[in-house]
């Protein structure tokens, strides 16, 4: 399974132009970093958009400078929401943990030279960038052409995601170094692998759906029986209604699983961080891998539970509700493993660990409200948009963002050869953590109380007036959370500018392969001699003085060390 193509993929030398070295390099590390830059740009714009949306909700009459050119209409507001969602879901939550960290770290963690198909990898990076440009531009176009451009961009992104998933899955299957058997894979690699398989299944469906809608809109086909077509038909046929529900099914088939596509690599990252900073092996590592498989499998099957209100076979909601609730089982496994790893561990509260614990907290909080939503009857009775927004932002949006930040704090030395400032990082964490709870917890209350369809009318009216002050609180909390991110930017830029200290190669004393080489990772990873792996990825209670045994430490050397 080991294969080193010496000179087969010549990496451009340092003398080569900036373009070839950075933008058109097929090196997995350059590509991974480029994905992370894309994600960083997208998350900053996405956060600004979110703040604008909140401000408009709370103070609709406030004129926002620089934005006078954008009309103040409901359509523009909807377009703003679409842009916020597209940027965050596609280019932050999908791109950063899977394509960014996955591309950079997966070959390093399995001891490979590069991804299986480096050129294809470059193609998917550029398709992702094209799609980002397309989705952003579509915001500035009139509705009809804007929607076409958005759909085209979504198709391009689906293709890019498919290529990327193909690459990650093949690399994991084929390019593991000698001794890197499946049980010895770090949980991060498992998560990227399972996620790649899931991605290959669902992005095909989004691609099919987007192509079909585009064909309806551009070529005039009638898959979704447009209103214009129905108008030409005899009136008795009109009661057939439109088949727009088909698009809804296609879309949710993709979009519900997309939640798990965003979360799966984060589960891997968190498991990795919790073990490393508790200085303990992952508790029941194989069960964790099984749970990840379970999340992937069930996540693929629960698409219908977004459609309780749209009408389906009367038994279908029950099936979907049971399936969706059963996601609690693998989630409980994961939580049990994280807690048992923490239990009696020598916990080091570095910023990366804080973000990991923050993730767990948000995952529990958001997951609990998910149980409400998984019930088809409860969802219809008492839950409104605010509740749903609060739920999925906690569990998918913010939790995943904390995982990304944790990963960034953890692997920053590997990426850039220096550390982020720890004190600034801790302040940043606590401000963000308080901020996101301040934003999304009140949203749950708003949804449950002020918009409940079960309460008597008079009570609802009374609650509605309380609602507006809660909304203002949410907006203020949003601005606070936004402002807290300035600390991160300062930390990030400062660390990169002051990159003077030579970072030791393994600052966290982690046993996985990426820490066995220099930081930042050299261009050809492990050089001419591929590493050999002798043990699992989490031997953190070691016989050696460092309390960890690197995966590639030969047994003879280990014996010498322990003697």
């Amino acid at each position: 399974m080991v294969s080193y193509d010496d000179g087969a993929n010549p990496h451009p030398s340092a003398q080569a132009g900036l373009l070839r070295r950075v933008l058109f390099s097929t090196n997995h590390k350059v590509i991974g970093l480029n994905y992370l830059w894309l994600a960083l740009a997208s998350v900053l714009v996405g956060m600004i958009l979110a703040t604008l949306l909140r401000m408009h909700t709370s103070w609709p009459d406030t004129a926002i400078p620089f934005l006078a050119g954008i009309e103040n209409t409901p359509e523009r507001y909807a377009a703003l929401r679409l842009l916020h969602g597209s940027l965050m879901v596609f280019f932050v939550l999908t791109a950063a943990p899977q394509f960014g960290f996955g591309n950079y770290l997966l070959p390093l963690q399995i001891g490979a030279q590069d991804m299986a198909f480096p050129s294809l990898n470059l193609v998917s990076l550029w398709m992702t960038a094209t799609s980002l440009a397309g989705m952003t531009w579509s915001f500035f176009l009139p509705l009809v052409s804007g929607m076409n451009l958005w759909l085209g961009s979504a198709s391009v992104f689906s293709l890019a995601a498919l290529f990327s998933a193909l690459n990650i899955a093949t690399t994991t299957l084929e390019l593991r170094t000698k001794g890197m058997t499946l049980p010895r894979l770090p949980v991060t690699v498992w998560a990227w692998f399972i996620n790649a398989i899931l991605g290959m299944l669902i992005f095909s469906v989004l691609l099919a759906g987007s192509c079909a809608v585009l064909s309806d809109r551009l070529l005039g086909s009638n898959l979704f029986s447009s209103v214009a077509y129905l108008a030409q038909q005899p009136p008795d046929l009109l009661k057939q209604g439109s088949q727009a529900i088909l698009w809804e099914r296609w879309f949710w088939y993709f979009a519900q699983a997309e939640v798990y596509v965003a979360m799966l690599p984060c589960f891997g990252i968190i498991t990795h961080l919790v073990a490393t900073f508790s200085r303990k092996p992952v508790w029941k590592e194989r069960l964790v891998v099984l749970a990840l498989c379970g999340v992937g499998l069930v996540g693929f099957c629960v698409w219908g539970y977004h459609m309780f209100a749209t009408g389906m076979n009367p038994y279908a909601p029950l099936v979907f509700a049971v399936l969706a609730s059963s996601l609690g089982i693998p989630a409980a496994f994961l939580l049990a493993s994280w807690f048992c790893t923490l239990w009696h561990g020598a916990v080091q509260l570095s910023p990366a660990m804080l973000f990991a614990i923050g993730f767990i907290s948000l995952f529990i909080a958001g997951g609990l409200s998910g149980i409400f939503l998984a019930r088809h009857d409860l969802a219809a009775a008492a839950v409104s948009e605010d509740f749903v927004i609060g739920h999925f932002h906690l569990v998918m949006g913010v939790a995943a963002t904390l995982a990304i930040l944790g990963a960034l704090f953890f692997w920053f030395p590997k990426l850039f050869g220096c550390r982020l400032n720890e004190s600034l990082g801790k302040v940043h964490f606590w401000m963000t953590f308080a901020g996101v709870y301040g934003v999304f917890m009140p949203m749950h209350w708003l949804g449950l109380l002020t918009e409940s369809r079960m309460l008597p009318e008079a009570q609802r009216a009374a609650l509605a007036s309380a609602g507006s002050s809660i909304r203002t609180f949410v907006t203020v909390a949003t601005i606070w959370t936004m402002a807290a991110q300035a600390l991160f930017i300062v930390n990030f830029v400062r660390s990169l500018l002051l990159r003077r200290t030579v970072e030791e190669n393994n600052p966290w004393q982690a046993p996985t392969l990426e820490w066995s080489i220099a930081s930042p990772a050299p261009e050809e990873n492990f050089g001419r001699t591929p590493p050999v792996v002798y043990r699992g990825a989490y031997e953190l209670i070691g016989a050696t003085a460092d309390n960890f045994v690197p995966q590639n430490l030969a047994p003879e050397q280990l014996a010498q060390k322990t003697r």
Binding site: D5, T181, S204, S221, S225, Q243, Y534
Partner: protein, 223 residues
């Protein structure tokens, strides 16, 4: 290290699955092709990644067409606007052409296995020609339908006819490109041997073949 042997076994199983069921040692000659089997010759990267990649790509493409097929069945059941397309007779001829191309492709690979490069090139180009002929045939079938006044925009059944044939044709164009690549590539400098490229391409081609039969059956039974 507890359970080392079991781990290695598991690894072997996965490796075999990834490599499309191939063993570690390439059988001499046979349809594995020439001196360079799956595991590659000296100085060449292991080609198993290409088999694994193709396998995964096929799964992805399969899901793409399944999504379309599911939509086809949903719309057919739920709609009284459904006016089935009369499948042009030319399509049966096209199907024959595509099936023949799969046969010539296998014959070509057999020649390659017995190191008859000239015979391989001839049969391989025949395959490519048949592929192009199929594509032209599909275009003619479209012209026939348009001549009968059956357009993409007429009703969902017609839309599906064009979408199925169109998306399949787009995928097949990629297959023709791959065939040309294998025929024209200078394999002295390539990373993989011609036999491996030919085998990977053949998987794709046969899959396109089977997919076409499936789509045709769907359109036929969908009447």
């Amino acid at each position: 290290m507890p359970g080392t042997t079991a781990e290695q076994d598991l690894d072997l199983i996965v490796e075999n699955a990834g490599g499309g069921g191939g063993g570690k040692t390439p059988p001499a000659g046979g349809d594995e092709g020439g001196g360079n089997g799956r595991r590659g010759g000296k100085g060449q990267p292991s080609p198993t990644r290409y088999f694994a990649g193709m396998g995964l790509a096929i799964v992805s493409i399969f899901v793409f067409f399944m999504a379309l097929a599911a939509a086809f069945l949903t719309l057919k059941r739920g709609s009284t606007l459904w006016v089935p397309v009369h499948i042009p007779a030319l399509l049966w001829f096209n199907t024959g052409v595509l099936l023949t191309s799969s046969v010539t492709l296998e014959l070509a690979r057999e020649r390659l296995g017995s190191s008859d490069l000239g015979g391989f090139q001839k049969l391989w180009l025949t395959t490519t020609g048949l592929g192009v002929l199929f594509l032209i045939g599909q275009l003619v079938a479209w012209r026939i339908l348009v001549g009968q006044g059956i357009y993409l925009a007429a009703n969902p059944a017609n839309s599906f006819f064009y979408i199925f044939t169109g998306t399949h044709a787009v995928h097949l164009v990629g297959g023709v490109g791959a065939l040309i690549y294998v025929a024209k590539r200078n394999f002295d400098v390539a990373k993989v041997s011609r036999a491996v490229s030919a085998e990977v391409t053949s998987y794709y081609w046969h899959f396109m073949d089977a997919l076409w039969l499936f789509l045709l059956a769907l359109l036929y039974l969908g009447k």
